[in-house]
Symmetry: C2
Subunit: 102 residues, 2 copies
Amino acid sequence: MAIILQVDFPFAGPWGDEMAAAMDGLAQDIAGEPGLQWKIWTENAQTQRAGGIYCFDTAEAAQAYADKHLARLASFGITGIVAHHFAINAPLSKVTRFQQTA
Amino acid sequence: MAIILQVDFPFAGPWGDEMAAAMDGLAQDIAGEPGLQWKIWTENAQTQRAGGIYCFDTAEAAQAYADKHLARLASFGITGIVAHHFAINAPLSKVTRFQQTA
C-alpha cells in the first residue's frame, strides 16, 4: 500500500524557475530513489516555506528515504523540518478523485 | 496554476475502513467543492495524526475551502491544526514523475 511522506520547512529561496534550475540535479537524483512513485515539489515565497509531498510504494522505502533526505536537508543548513508519514485512506480518496497509480 | 493545500492535525481515530465509513458523507460533500481537483485522505494510527492533501485549481479556491474546512474541523473539537498553502514547482515535479491533471 502506497505511503505519503509529507515534508516542509522554512526556506529563503530561490523560488520558481530559479529554484527549478538550482535543484534540477537533486530532482534527477531523487527520481531514482527506490520505491518512489512521485514527488510534488512545494513552495511558498510569501510564507517562506517549501517542501515535498512524496508517494512511495512501501513504508520501508519512505522511511529509508526520509532518513537520507532529512540528513541532507540539515547538511544544507535547513532547520525546523517537519516530516510526517501517512497511509492513504483509499476509499475516501477515491470519493475525492485521487487516482492512485499503484 | 494548481495549488496544494496541506492539512494535518492530531486525531484519535477511527482509522482505515472505520474512518472511511464514518466520513463517507463528508467525502461526498468535499468532492463537490468548487475548484477541487482531488484530495488524498491521510492517516497514521501510530502517530495519532490525520489530514488531507488537496489540489485546487486556484489559490482563491484553496483559500475559500481552507476557511470553511478549518472552521469545520474546529467544530469537531479538533485542535492543533497545521495548514499550509503551496504552489507546485512544475519543472521539478515533472522530473520526479508527478502528473499534473490541470
